[in-house]
């Protein structure tokens, strides 16, 4: 039987909880795989190697940088779960700050705290076979991934933007109808376009879509009246260390789309 292991690094536990949140499917999945290491669910631990390892969290300590190499060695297929594991998570905001200052703000005895200056994704340390995006991941994507691995087919992981899902859901576009800032055009699909259905702009928790149009998005955000520092904050949140989002946050707003020839909006890149 396929052996499954679940690992945690710096994270909130929410992505691995998604597996326990599959209330209708959990026992069926448990019947098809041997859960060999999943501390949130069981104290029984089987030694490796493992067929599939699901990895939650980012690398923030020297010990964890070592541990992820060990997990990789023991795993045939390694899948990262969520924004922390795929992009460093919200804790990667430290990458833009002075870590010693951060440490002294939170801890009375900063010298006790062993930590790296950066929070980095798993792929910065070891080879990763598949990545599930999102803060948190979508449990339907997780189930599809596990099913695909069991069947030996490639998981269907979309690279297009949230806009596609939003249209399919039949939601009214919050930018067009209400002038609400929305990162949907540059954010990866997978959540089911939840935020616009709740009359909120997408805040990019699934990270960047493939080939986002930086200039058009900058113009769109500018047209909603969003201030530059708010744009930077919007990109620098749950996928703060993602290189594409870093680049998008630096694209200063050019003219709004359709405003005629002029700046490309990319002068800062």
């Amino acid at each position: 039987m396929t052996t499954l292991a679940v690992w945690k690094f710096a994270s909130c536990d929410g992505c691995q909880l998604s597996l326990l949140d599959c209330e209708d499917e959990l026992l069926a999945v448990a019947g098809r795989v041997e859960i060999a290491h999943f501390l949130e669910a069981t104290r029984a631990v089987e030694p490796g190697p493992y067929d599939v390892s699901l990895v939650e969290g980012s690398i923030t300590t020297p010990e964890d940088a070592e541990r992820i190499r060990h997990v990789r060695e023991m795993s045939r297929v390694l899948v990262t779960l969520g924004a922390c594991a795929t992009a460093g998570g919200v804790q990667a905001l430290r990458n833009f700050a002075d870590i010693d200052e951060f440490r002294s703000v939170v801890y009375a005895r900063p010298d006790y705290v062993s930590t790296l200056a950066t929070s980095t994704p798993i792929a910065a340390h070891v080879d990763v076979d598949y990545e599930l995006h999102g803060c948190p991941i979508d449990r339907r994507q997780l189930l599809d991934l596990i099913t695909s691995l069991l069947l030996g087919r490639r998981p269907d992981l979309p690279g297009h933007s949230v806009c596609f899902e939003c249209k399919r859901r039949g939601s009214v576009c919050v930018v067009v109808a209400h002038g609400t800032p929305c990162l949907g055009p540059v954010t990866r699909a997978g959540c089911g376009a939840i935020c616009p259905a709740y009359q909120r702009g997408c805040f990019g928790c699934f990270g960047p879509a493939e080939t986002p149009n930086a200039a058009a998005q900058a113009g769109l955000l500018r047209a909603t009246g969003m201030a530059e520092d708010d744009v930077v904050r919007a990109y620098r949140t749950y996928n703060a260390a993602d290189p594409t989002f870093i680049e998008l946050s630096r694209v200063m707003a050019g003219p709004a789309p359709g405003a005629g020839p002029g700046g490309t909006g990319q002068e800062e890149t």
Binding site: C12, L20, D21, E23, E40, V45, Q91, V106
Partner: protein, 432 residues
């Protein structure tokens, strides 16, 4: 086995808790020499990274401290920011917040009862192993848990890190019809929850009691969840705004953690047993009835019985959710505008594991200048260690394997959420 002069029990990675922790017990010459609940979850520095963010951002950002109780973080953050800005929300918005919070209590408590804690009482390594023998029980738990998640999904958009919560209220509020559609589902879950109380009440509980002071929010007239004043079993009461005057965190030399204590008084615990002991009279008649039938008296000082209290609170949360749905009238506006002002704000709510305090400083430009978060598990850490110390002392005749498992169970009595506590606990990494 008592020939050894030193005996060490080490659990390097605690299972069935949220986050990463370890337990270390050292017995020397037949007496407990050292007990430590170690936290080696890597720090994530939330209080530091919140500075410079907009005053509207703490609910979403602090939700990411804990995937198990994100609603608790969102609610405490909203309360603190609204306090700073001098805004109070529409009563219908407050009702929806309480309903949302009931959803998280149902989901989190049922997760803990069925998947994390019950396997200890029944001798299984985990719920999936338990399901091989008692699939019906695990299915009942998953079904009740799902009912809680359905509330959070409807009101929040998704179960983990809900998107629909904002300072001042919600982005979109549900119609009466949307809420009423949940009612049947919750009725069924309520029946399951009553069965759950009866089931867990029959477990075998060690004869073990503590005398810790207990602390929880308390509001006359209703079981405190999303608001209230702070009260303790020692008769102390104070406003949430004075939390930091009464709760002191101190560093203990051997430990990796800051331990919280009540100023001038000492160790205390928070969570379901504290709430029950302080607020039992405000439970619904049904919840009171099932509590009495389950053998719970006026207070609960046996931490092993916390599983019964969690089950009773699940009954209450379902009962209360149905009551709130039945009397729901949508608010005129889904949210109140919350313009920033230069001020400090304080908020506390009852996370499933106990009181969760937030304090923010906001600048005139609307940016966060300082943040402080006191999560429940760090408040319980001294109590957990004290329980372990006394518990181990009385059970040294057990072999290592059994004693270790029982110690793990003693820790799980508090449903520790180590992901939560870590961002402010001191820690050393020791991964032997």
């Amino acid at each position: 086995m008592t020939h050894r002069s030193e005996r060490v029990l080490d659990v390097r990675s605690l299972a069935r808790v949220e986050g990463e922790g370890a337990m270390h017990v050292r017995v020397r010459d037949g007496a407990v020499a050292d007990v430590r609940l170690d936290i080696y979850e890597p720090p994530r520095f939330f209080e530091a990274l919140l500075r410079g963010r907009r005053h509207t951002e703490p609910p979403d950002i602090t939700a990411r401290i804990c995937g198990i109780c994100p609603v608790a973080y969102q609610m405490s953050a909203c309360a603190a920011v609204e306090d700073a800005c001098g805004v109070s929300v529409d009563p219908a918005v407050a009702t929806l917040r309480r309903l949302l919070y009931c959803g998280e209590w149902i989901e989190s408590h049922t997760l803990h009862i069925y998947l994390l804690h019950a396997p200890d009482f029944l001798g299984y390594a985990g719920a999936l192993e338990m399901a091989q023998d008692r699939r019906d029980l695990v299915e009942r738990g998953l079904s009740t848990k799902q009912a809680g998640n359905e509330i959070v999904e409807l009101l929040g958009g998704r179960a983990i890190h809900p998107v629909n919560i904002r300072v001042g209220g919600f982005y979109r509020t549900p119609s009466r019809a949307e809420l009423t559609a949940l009612r049947e589902r919750l009725r069924k879950a309520l029946d399951q929850a009553v069965e759950t109380v009866q089931w867990v009440a029959g477990f075998d509980f060690p004869d073990f009691h503590h005398d810790h002071e207990m602390l929880a929010l308390s509001t006359p007239g209703r079981y405190a969840i999303e608001s209230g004043d702070v009260a303790t079993t020692g008769g102390l009461t104070f406003d949430v705004r004075r939390f930091e005057e009464h709760i002191i965190e101190e560093q203990v030399p051997h430990s990796t953690a800051l331990h919280a204590r009540i100023a001038g008084r000492g160790r205390y615990i928070v969570g379901p047993t504290a709430r029950f002991t302080l607020n039992r009279q405000w439970l619904s008649p049904l919840a009171q009835e099932v509590a009495s039938a389950a053998g719970l008296g006026a207070d609960c000082r046996n931490p092993y019985r916390s599983i019964v209290v969690r089950a009773v609170e699940t009954v209450y949360a379902l009962d209360e959710a149905i009551r709130l749905i039945d009397r729901y009238e949508p608010p005129a506006r889904p949210y109140a505008e919350v313009p920033p002002r230069e001020a400090a704000g304080y908020g506390a709510t009852e996370a499933p594991r106990g009181i969760l305090f937030h304090r923010y400083g906001i600048g005139a430009d609307g940016l966060i200048t300082s943040a402080r978060i006191v999560p429940p598990t760090s408040q319980n850490q001294a109590g957990i260690e004290d329980d372990l110390r006394r518990f181990v002392g009385g059970r040294l005749h057990l072999d290592d394997e059994h004693l270790t498992w029982q110690c793990e169970q003693a820790i799980r009595n508090y449903d520790p959420c180590i992901s939560c506590s870590t961002h402010f606990l001191d820690l050393t990494v020791d991964r032997r």
